[in-house]
């Protein structure tokens, strides 16, 4: 229970001259729901993208399930991983994007079976059966044949969650999954995420939904300016923030 699924030690990331992450230290335990909050530009999405190596870390160490992300260590030397090795590690990490990024030329069902069939070599029939279970689980069993353009934003995001789950990941990353949604559609997506959390999935969630963080979150980190300002139990941090910066941020969003 206390094994770390994600472990960051002094993670730095810069784009050109702009330093986005200035030394992030944190630990996500296996099976917990870990919420990242903070103002836009604070680096929380960038950190999330570092976890599955969509962004390269410039300094520090980042581990997923005990293994270094993006590199292999031999002695005190680091070797960059080949693209195929990175891809192999990404199989186990599901990611849900703010803009859904469903494949528009495929139906909901085809979106979900694409990776298991193409990457893992699962048979189509088997993948389809599993995909239908997942679509049912996110409440969209009747939309299997619909193209993304025929679905609402909330439905698209739930298909995207099913697509990520189809690879049986050990870790799920959510990058502001409800920020692009109409307010009335947010609830459906959060319900699916809550259900997922209850099933014991390890989740790292970048979010502006403080209600979700308080109810479902096990840990919470407030980031600003590329550093972790405050962290702890979501209920404590959100109701009784210690740091001045956290207080002013929460007073604006709550």
């Amino acid at each position: 229970m206390t094994t770390a699924m994600v472990k960051a030690e002094g993670v730095h990331k810069s784009f050109g001259h702009v330093q986005v992450l200035k030394g992030i230290d944190l630990e996500v335990k296996s099976g917990e729901v870990f919420c990242l909050i903070g103002p836009s530009g604070s680096g929380k999405s960038t950190f999330l993208r570092c976890i599955n190596h969509l962004e390269k870390v410039n300094a520090g160490r980042l581990y997923v399930d005990g293994e270094l992300v993006g590199y292999r260590q031999k002695g005190d030397k680091l070797y960059e991983l080949k693209d195929s090795e990175v891809a192999l590690k990404r199989r186990d990490i599901g990611m849900v994007f703010q803009r859904f990024n469903l494949f528009p030329h495929m139906t909901a069902l085809e979106n979900v079976i694409e990776a298991p069939v193409q990457v893992k070599g699962v048979s189509k029939a088997q993948a389809r059966e599993r995909a239908m279970q997942l679509l049912d689980r996110v409440g969209l069993g009747d939309k299997a044949g619909s193209y993304p353009s025929q679905l609402s934003g909330g439905q698209q995001q739930r298909v995207a969650i099913a697509r990520a789950l189809a690879m049986d990941p050990k870790l799920m990353l959510f990058d502001e999954p409800t920020s692009a949604l109409d307010p009335e559609l947010v609830g459906d997506v959060l319900d699916v995420m809550r259900d997922l959390a209850e099933s014991g999935m390890t989740m790292v969630v970048v979010t502006h939904e403080m209600g979700f963080a308080r109810e479902v979150g096990d840990s919470l980190v407030f980031m600003d300016g590329g550093v972790v300002v405050e962290s702890g139990n979501p209920r404590e941090v959100l109701t009784n923030p210690q740091h001045e910066r956290t207080q002013s941020f929460l007073s604006k969003v709550l």
Partner: protein, 311 residues
Amino acid sequence: MTDIKKTDRPADTPPAGPEAIRAVPVRHYGRYVAAIVALGILGLLIWAFANGDINWGAIPDYFFNDRILTGVRETLLLTVLSMLIGIVGGVVLAVMRLSKNPVTSSIAWFYIWFFRGTPVLVQLFVWFNLGFVFEYINLGPVYKDEWSDFMTPFLTALLGLGLNEAAYMAEICRAGLLAVDEGQTEAAHALGMSHSKTLRRIVIPQAMRVIVPPTGNEVINMLKTTSLVAAVQYYELLRFAQDIGTTSGATVEMLFLAAAWYLILTSVLSVGQYYIERYYARGSSRQLPPTPWQRVRTHLTSLSSRKGVAA
């Protein structure tokens, strides 16, 4: 269906809502004038051609002549094969050009620079005369021959047109690949898909929507450009038509005949293009546009249902 019937209600039954506006529409007198002028000019042209020194009867006589039909077949064959080389080469070059590898992207850049920068007619002549550079072709144990025997008019035409086309197709494909949202690549990578799988399964199918319309244009262009290969002794539609023209004395008539055949072929290709575009539009628009045939059918059924209401 019920909706159609409601809106198609005869005009004498007043609508239930507020009274519909009945205004005198704006009269566009300019349109009538333009139509009359255009018809006048068309009439004059027809009159001029009809009274010219042209033996119109020669065109139907030779329209399905064996040699003309052979020419049509050769033209189509050359178009299809050159476009195949062009499309495959274009995709490969576009991927190379966008690759992170500096060697492949430079090679692609150089290829495009060269083949786009020289006239295709000049390239055809160069291929034809490469025997001055390479006396023999020697592929070790596989193939060995004198260049002039190896480089037949057909191969000259095919290479000249196809390799030139690849340079243009490369730019079209590159535009298509760049038009696909980066989030698509990220989503595919996040699922553990490799670069090549992502390209093949996710990016290229979406790029096709952008690639197909200009490619259709290129096919039609290619069909017409094949007439240039007459210069390297390859017999296709124009060359056969010209030959018949000189032997039968109906030179101009045979040119009209060739023009008519080219028009027919390009028209057929345009129809094909419409259906391919429709196929790649799936998923991007909520409802596919109806095919012309479907359009005709709905028109007919709405006509018959209107009759049914009247009766």
